[in-house]
């Protein structure tokens, strides 16, 4: 993999995705050792630049960086110069001057990490930008499915929840379809994206990926679940109810919530996934979330290994000739 940044999975080839997944398996073995530390990023400085709150993702990146022997600095928006009005570009230039080798960025504005990646020589990993993309989450979802089911090609993945506002759904759609799976996006009509499915189908053709009906969109949850190998539930927020996109969370949960009865409509043994944090009882019932088909905990564990793999692959030296 020869790239400076990981901003979204839309520009990843299938080979690059496979390289990340193979490297993740190696990193998972490292995490099982008595001493979970390897030296490839020794002497490198990684800056976690989180403009949006996060515990899970930030800690996951920090642990991953430290396991690779890097030094980690955490910047959160509150308590930093951002409160004094420092612009994103100025913060970026400061990081460059301070010698950051890699920046992990989460920001509320879609596209912010792209601006930073253009301005910085250091590598940038997008940890979530607005509603747009969350590539490392999608990669850990791919790895989890591959570990459990053995393959991704030909599988049917149903993503159910607030698709419109979900960067996880978008990156996962790119990732799964690039590796030859079909993705069905399912939500109430007010929470479905417009034009996204077409954009992905066009983009896949441009990448040379040929699958029948790679991405479909529906508001019918039974249709989405039929023959699904993977069911991914997404968080539905209270704010959507307050802004008039949903009549009530109770109606959402009755019509689209993943309960034991609903999950039985998918393929037998289908995996149940959720990026977290969950609204138990809304998009997913506790008995499914903690039931035998759930791989939600595995997703979190795999997150550290996936992020180690991405950081390892990105940090290749760019200076000398290939040896």
């Amino acid at each position: 993999m020869r790239r400076k940044d990981v901003l979204d999975l839309d520009d990843f080839t299938a080979d690059e995705l496979r390289e990340v997944l193979e490297t993740t398996a190696a990193m998972k073995e490292v995490l099982a050792r008595p001493i979970r530390r390897v030296p490839p990023l020794r002497g490198k400085t990684i800056v976690n630049c989180f403009y949006e709150a996060s515990t899970r993702t930030r800690v996951s990146f920090e642990l991953a960086a430290k396991n690779l022997s890097a030094d980690v600095v955490n910047i959160t928006a509150s308590g930093s110069s951002v409160e004094k009005g420092e612009t994103l570009v100025d913060t970026t230039r400061t990081l460059q001057a301070l010698g950051a080798d890699m920046v992990i960025m989460r920001h509320g504005a879609s596209g912010a990490p792209y601006l930073v990646a253009r301005e910085l020589e250091a590598s940038v990993i997008n940890a979530g930008d607005g509603w747009h993309a969350h590539p490392t989450q999608a990669l850990l979802d791919l790895f989890t499915v591959q570990s459990r089911l053995g393959s991704i090609e030909g599988r049917r993945v149903a993503i159910i929840g607030d698709i419109l506002h979900s960067r996880v759904a978008r990156s996962a759609t790119w990732g799964f379809t690039t590796l030859g799976a079909q993705v069905v996006l399912c939500a109430p009509p007010t929470l479905l994206p417009i034009g996204f499915a077409d954009a992905v189908n066009t983009g896949l053709r441009a990448k040379g990926i040929v699958t029948a009906c790679p991405v479909t969109v529906t508001h019918d949850v039974d249709e989405a679940l039929r023959d699904a190998d993977v069911v991914m539930a997404l968080r539905v927020q209270r704010e959507r109810m307050d802004s008039g996109l949903l009549p009530s969370l109770r109606e959402y949960s009755r019509e689209w919530g993943i309960t034991r009865e609903r999950i039985a409509k998918a393929r037998f043994g289908a995996l149940v996934m959720h990026p977290g944090p969950m609204n138990e009882g809304v998009e997913i019932s506790p008995e499914v979330a903690y039931g035998p088909q759930s791989v939600i905990e595995a997703q979190v564990t795999n997150g550290v290994a996936v992020r180690m793999a991405v950081m390892y692959l990105l940090a290749g030296g760019r200076a000398g000739p290939a040896v």
Partner: protein, 198 residues
């Protein structure tokens, strides 16, 4: 110039000289297996760790031989040292990592690292650093099929199949049935490459 990157070398230009044939390799392994047992007074608390990629099949063969001679099963581990290399920064892309499997905690064991060729010693240095993640071994010993000289670090082998003085521009290949379909050790050189020293 490293023969592996020789841009104009074709099969016609590279001289190949066989150093050991299949029988020669077998005898060397047999002797090394006996030496390991002699030096360690048996196979007690012994573990063989093969360095990827050709060290691993060699370690498995040594384990079978020891099992034949001593009646004890010696566990075998496989170690990928890619992430411990000291030259990662010199490459444009990262090398692929193969699986590492170490079957037990190494604390208190005698580890015999197994590799095909000992050259600069940097790979062995990386292997020793990697082994530290698996416990504190009582001893680490090194078995190689060929020692070709040109050490860049203070590292030496305990068990050597063959000492082979070489020039820097030459390449020593240990070919194994399991990987290459045949058992032999060969020396490769390019007639014109002697002018560009690495």
């Amino acid at each position: 110039m490293d023969l592996r990157n020789a841009p104009e070398a074709s099969l016609d230009d590279i001289f190949e000289k066989q150093i050991l044939d299949a029988d020669g390799l077998r005898r060397a392994l047999t002797r090394i297996a006996h030496e390991i047992l002699e030096r360690n007074g048996g196979a007690h608390d012994l573990i063989l760790v093969g360095m990827r990629s050709r060290g691993a099949p060699l370690a498995h063969r040594l384990s079978s031989l020891i099992s034949q001679f001593e009646g004890t099963a010696v566990p075998v581990g496989e170690l990928d040292i890619t992430m411990f290399r000291d030259d990662l920064e010199l490459r444009i892309t990262r090398p692929a990592i193969q699986p590492t499997v170490i079957p037990r905690d190494l604390t208190g064991t005698t580890v015999v690292l197994v590799d095909d060729v000992l050259y600069t010693g940097r790979t062995v240095r990386a292997a020793m650093d990697a082994l530290l993640s698996f416990g504190r071994a009582r001893q680490i010993q090194l078995a190689v099929i060929v020692d070709r000289g040109h050490r860049e670090l203070p590292i030496r082998a305990d068990y050597v199949g063959k000492n082979l003085p070489t020039a820097r521009h030459e390449l020593v290949e240990v070919r194994l049935r399991e990987v290459d379909g045949t058992d032999e050790v060969v020396l490769l050189s390019h007639p014109r490459s002697g002018t560009n020293q690495a």
